[in-house]
């Protein structure tokens, strides 16, 4: 069979979800929840199938293939096609997106059924799947684009979906607008990043004369030689884009708030796929980054700093999803650091495994939350279903969820032989060889990772049930647990794809990324990290699990760490800082412009001219005083002036 024919299917990875969403829009829920959910899952599933077919085709024909649908914009020397690029990198992303996506779609059929009831607006069920399909389409566009501009559509498109889904329950949240605010925050933070990407694109266009990946990468070295400054600017502005989309310092603040979205959204968008777009961007442009060491180290350090910074915050959180959110930020830091160092494969590897286990963790967390909610419903208790202090001892109530969660947590902590161990280890190994400082930072972050996961497992599943609802929690339906199990399998065995020695992923990606530094498995590092992970888990258990927390008890770490812990608990007050330093002055400045400057300044200047003229008119009116003799006086004055001018001029 000539598998190259499959390449022509590439555009359909985008179109199928689009068709799915259009059908769902047209039907708009008239044919029931089942239809909407299944249709959307099917659309996502077909994308998965196509992705697999593309992978198969690539297996036979590893060179990149571009499928063009025609011209999009062509002005002067700017010419951009609707082009889909099928290469090993994009297909990896497609596979991740569609596989995790499909599982989460299926999970959502069950989850959202409860969620819409719980939140009191069942009519929004279909809307959810429309957005989800739109997300899949945008994400596919992002990864399959063969030029920057098209990628940018996907880039902003996923941002839009994120905005819509975070604010899915737009009337809920703090003060009723909390969710909507969170969505807005996410979009604007992303826009700031997009600003960077836009500028990077302008620079690329004017320095390379094209926005096509091929054309740009092939000229990279010549341009780097000719305009090193431009190259530096390009890569740094791209980094700004990365920090926005992949929630790195300093733009990460939107991601914790983004947990306001329904849990499947957190799993799919804010853990598994969208947030990794930044990593993908750097990987895609590794040809550029490798030429600019300064930018590379900037990327690395941003990633590393984020990794440890977010990990510390994760330790101080009580919200089950917030812990995972900060964990995500931290793990994204790992990936960014990896691709920054040039360990592109390692970064991508971690991206894939992270998608599995973090997706799993979120979904399982969703299962926990709904379990608690059901429990709360049955015992008529009002509580925050996401607060870990209200949980405890759930392993008995919801065992399947517990086990899958445990697998995910262990994978995340980097326990061998689960997926996370291999991928994280690859990054650490690379760092230890090339950038020892980064290595130490990441190692500590890894320790923290295990620590907060240990803490979370202990708080949620072990010990005593600290609320009535927790005692009454029930297991989720099959449609949710099956994806959990499947993801658990992936999280457990995902490491296989780049198992040391086999290095499938590496050889696969090498077709696209070219010669990369081959990965090495360093036993010392592996054992060290494993030890750290185990240590972390152990401490976590010792602190939180051995002596089960009691309801209302303060966090055991609070006493020994003191101020530091309250810093972690309060997320180092970064939001407050931004609020004080950026948002408030910004609002005040805008208010000044709108109120004082525009209305009292510019507007009044215009009106003042009119009023001034009126005042002059009223002044001149006084000359028309009604007295004939005065009129005669003016006449004589005019006459005298005129005659004087004539005679004596």
């Amino acid at each position: 069979m000539d598998t190259t024919q499959f390449f022509n299917l590439a555009p359909w990875v985008v179109f199928v979800p689009l068709i799915g969403l259009v059908i769902n829009l047209l039907v708009s829920g008239r044919w029931g929840e089942k239809f909407a959910g299944i249709l959307a899952s099917l659309a996502s599933g077909i994308s998965l199938v196509i992705s697999i077919l593309l992978a198969v085709a690539l297996g036979n024909h590893p060179e990149a293939v571009t499928v063009s649908l025609g011209n999009w914009i062509s002005i002067g020397n700017l010419s951009v096609n609707w082009g889909f690029r099928v290469d090993t990198l994009s297909v990896v992303m497609m596979l991740v997106v569609s596989s995790v996506g499909t599982l989460i779609h299926i999970y959502s059929i069950g989850y959202m059924h409860n969620d819409v009831i719980h939140n009191g607006d069942p009519s929004r069920y279909t809307r959810f799947f429309v957005f989800m399909n739109l997300f899949i389409a945008s994400m596919m566009l992002l990864v399959s684009a063969d030029n920057f501009l098209m990628m940018f559509i996907g880039w902003e498109g996923v941002g839009l979906c994120s905005y819509l889904l975070i604010g899915f329950w737009f009337e809920k949240g703090k003060n009723g607008t909390g969710n909507a605010e969170a969505g807005k925050k996410a979009f604007i933070a992303n826009r700031i990043g997009d600003f960077g990407l836009l500028v990077a694109m302008f620079l690329i266009f004017w320095n390379f004369g094209s926005l096509q990946f091929d054309a740009v990468f092939s000229q990279a070295s010549t341009v780097a030689a000719a305009h090193p400054g431009a190259m530096l600017a390009i890569t740094l502005f791209m980094l700004l884009g990365v920090t926005g989309k992949s929630a790195q310092l300093p733009l990460y603040v939107w991601l914790p708030d983004a947990m306001a979205g329904p849990t499947p959204v957190s799993a799919l968008i804010h853990a598994a796929t969208m947030v990794t777009a930044g990593v993908y961007l750097v990987a895609r442009n590794s040809a550029l980054f490798t030429l600019v060491p300064a930018a590379q180290s900037a990327v690395t350090w941003v990633g590393a700093a984020t990794a440890i910074f977010a990990a510390t915050i994760a330790l101080g959180q009580y919200d089950i999803k917030k812990v995972l959110a900060y964990s995500t930020i931290s793990q994204l830091g790992f990936m960014v650091a990896a691709v920054g160092m040039g360990a592109t494969v390692a970064g991508m590897f971690h991206l894939v495994t992270h998608a599995f286990f973090k997706g799993l963790l979120f979904l399982a967390a969703g299962s926990v939350i709904q379990g608690i909610e059901r429990g709360a419903h049955s015992v008529h208790e009002e509580l925050d279903a996401q607060d870990m202090r209200q949980m405890g001892g759930l392993s008995k109530r919801i065992p399947l969820t517990f086990w899958t969660y445990l697998i995910g947590a262990l994978a995340l902590s980097g326990i061998a032989p689960l997926a996370g161990f291999f991928s994280k280890d690859e990054i650490l190994a690379y760092a230890s060889k090339n950038q020892p400082a980064v290595f130490w930072v990441l190692a500590i972050a890894a320790f923290f990772t295990a620590l907060y996961m240990g803490r979370q497992i202990s708080m949620v599943f072990l010990g005593a049930q600290r609320s009535k609802s927790a005692g009454a929690a029930t297991e989720s339906p099959r449609v949710m647990t099956v994806p959990l199990v499947l993801l658990a399998v992936l999280a457990a065995f995902g490491g296989l794809i780049n198992l040391p020695g086999l290095y499938w992923l590496e050889t696969w990606l090498a077709h696209t990324l070219g010669e990369t530094t081959p990965s090495e498995f360093i036993w010392l590092v592996a054992l060290g990290s494993l030890t750290l992970a185990l240590l972390g888990l152990l401490i976590g258990w010792l602190l939180y699990g051995r002596q089960p927390l009691k309801a209302g008890q303060a966090d055991p770490l609070k006493k020994p760490l003191g101020v530091i812990f309250s810093g972690m608990e309060n997320r180092w007050k970064v939001d407050e800082l931004y609020n004080a330093v950026i948002i408030k002055p910004f609002n005040a400045f805008a208010q000044f412009l709108a109120g004082t400057f525009d209305l009292r300044g510019i507007d009044r200047a215009g009106n003042g001219l009119g009023e001034g003229t009126k005042a002059i008119a009223n002044g001149l009116r006084k000359f028309e005083n009604g007295f004939v003799r005065s009129y005669a006086f003016w006449m004589l004055l005019g006459l005298a002036a005129m005659v004087t001018y004539f005679i004596f001029r």
Binding site: I75, F170, E171, A180, L198, F202
Partner: protein, 502 residues
């Protein structure tokens, strides 16, 4: 020449047919009047498609030219000279496209004196089309100034609370600019042989010293119309007080007359002055982008917010025009259309909200997406189009402008475009702010809980614009092909006039 077969004559003056018919209808036959106006404007749109059909996209020159001698002034002929080229074709289509939509939007909103309203509206359409087609400076001025009159009445008679203040302000501001343009036109015509645009552009040769003054005289008129910061303060008032259809046309078309004027007059006629002043104009454009966005963000009135957003959007157009390369100028032209569509649609939506709630204060809304999901969804698309989401129309224009300006030799520095790109962030800030205040969050006012969603007519008003939003966003080449030869000609004309560029 058989005038009956000249599409430009028809497209300009067909609205008068509608006016005539309406004149003979009783003013109490409101629906008949509405239908007449709607059908007339649809017919005009049809005629403009006929123009489009005859339009040769590869030709950069004016086409379907009608040139009838009218009278002479000081030995210089003034002619009834119409023609359409790449610079005007899109704006012509935009005008004829938006007019029926605007008329359709008045079905329920305008109940008083429908007859007068429609007559003024069709007269306005004639004036606007004339502005875009006129190739004689005097004729241009006539149409230009004439459009003031119907708009003056539209705001003054069917406007809101402070309509008198607003309409006077609108009239006086606009006239303040155009009187100097009249002096400029006379001066150019008398000093440099004629009022014919095509001839003047070819002849060139206006001395640089004179160019600066003339640029200022013409530019002021256009800058006020656009409006370029800081000459904008008439716009928010006019928009807030204008009836919905008036706002749509005001934002959609009338403001474009200003930007079009720059393209048609200032740049080709005074190339050296243009090159000298381009950075300053660009700076004004950028200030407009950022200032408009910041001020929009703090508005409490939705309509005012959208009005200030116009200032921001048109700042992009100004920047694009004065970056003066193929990319930016084409982007600017496309952005004119985009702004007409997006902002027009936003005003339509504000109008729909107003019809339901009789308020435009942001604080009076909230949570409407839940109550009126269709309106909420359509508003979302329009908002995003205005925020230049890739894949929608706004992005194509803004990207071309910014990327063009980024490498513009005339501006000579990427900082211009860099600063302007910040507007992309700010656009998200104020537009999402608006969307959230109106459509998201809980329903806080009891009156809002029972609002009706859009009816078929309202969906029909918005649907064509939405189609165009997607069309331009996904396949802009259809439109870009029409304009690129003319833009190429314009850009190369300016650069040949100014050897310092090469």
């Amino acid at each position: 020449m058989n005038l009956g077969s000249e599409p430009l004559i028809w497209v300009t003056f067909f609205p008068l047919v509608g006016v005539l018919v309406i004149l003979f209808l009783k003013s109490s036959w409101k629906n008949a009047i509405r239908w007449t106006a709607l059908l007339t404007s649809l017919a005009v749109f049809g005629i403009s498609l006929w123009v489009l059909g005859k339009f040769d996209a590869a030709n950069a020159e004016a086409q379907m030219v009608i040139n009838l001698p009218w009278f002479t002034l000081g030995g210089n002929p003034i002619a009834f000279h119409l023609g359409v080229d790449g610079l005007s074709i899109l704006l012509l289509l935009l005008t004829t496209f938006l007019t029926p939509i605007a008329i359709l939007s008045t079905w329920k909103a305008v109940q008083e004196n429908v007859k007068g309203f429609m007559i003024f509206f069709l007269l306005l359409e004639m004036g606007m089309v004339g502005v875009f087609l006129a190739l004689d400076m005097v004729l241009f001025y006539i149409f230009w100034e004439f459009t003031l009159v119907p708009m003056y009445f539209l705001i003054g008679l069917w406007g809101g609370e402070r309509r008198i203040y607003a309409t006077m302000k609108f009239f006086l501001y606009t006239m303040a600019g155009s009187i100097l343009m009249l002096a400029g036109i006379l001066w150019v015509g008398l000093q440099y042989g004629g009022f014919d645009m095509t001839a003047l552009t070819k002849a060139g040769g206006i001395p640089v010293s004179a160019q600066m003054w003339l640029f200022a005289a013409f530019g002021l008129a256009f800058a006020i119309k656009v409006p370029v910061w800081p000459l904008h303060s008439w716009l928010p008032d006019a928009h807030v007080e204008a009836p919905t259809a008036g706002s749509v046309i005001l934002a959609g078309v009338l403001l474009k007359m200003g930007t079009y004027g720059f393209l048609r007059f200032n740049i080709p006629l005074f190339p050296q002055a243009t090159l000298t002043l381009a950075p300053y104009m660009a700076v004004l454009g950028i200030i407009g982008i950022l200032y408009g966005a910041l001020v929009a963000y703090r508005q409490k009135d939705v309509k005012k917010l959208v009005a200030y957003s116009s200032i921001s959007h048109l700042g992009f157009v100004i920047l694009g025009m004065f970056a003066l390369n193929q990319l930016s100028v084409e982007g600017a032209l496309l952005q004119m259309v985009n702004h007409g569509l997006s902002t027009g649609a936003l005003f339509l939506i504000v109008g729909m909200l107003y019809e339901r709630r009789h308020t435009r204060q942001l604080e009076d809304f909230g949570g409407l997406w839940k109550v009126t999901p269709v309106l909420g969804s359509l508003a979302l698309v329009v908002t995003l189009s205005s925020a230049a989401l890739p894949g929608l129309n706004g992005f194509v224009g803004e990207f071309s402008i910014l990327s063009g300006a980024f490498g513009s030799k005339v501006l000579g520095s990427p900082w211009f475009a860099g600063a302007a790109t910040l507007g992309v962030i700010l656009a998200a800030v104020y537009l999402l702010h608006m969307y959230q205040k109106v459509f998201l969050g809980p329903v806080t006012h009891a009156e809002n809980a029972s609002l009706k969603d859009l009816n078929v007519r309202e969906i029909l008003t918005l649907a064509p614009i939405l189609i165009m939003i997607f069309w331009i966003g996904l396949a802009p080449q259809t439109f870009l092909n029409l304009i690129s030869p003319a833009v190429e000609k314009l850009v190369s004309a300016v650069s040949t006039a100014a050897p310092l560029l090469h």
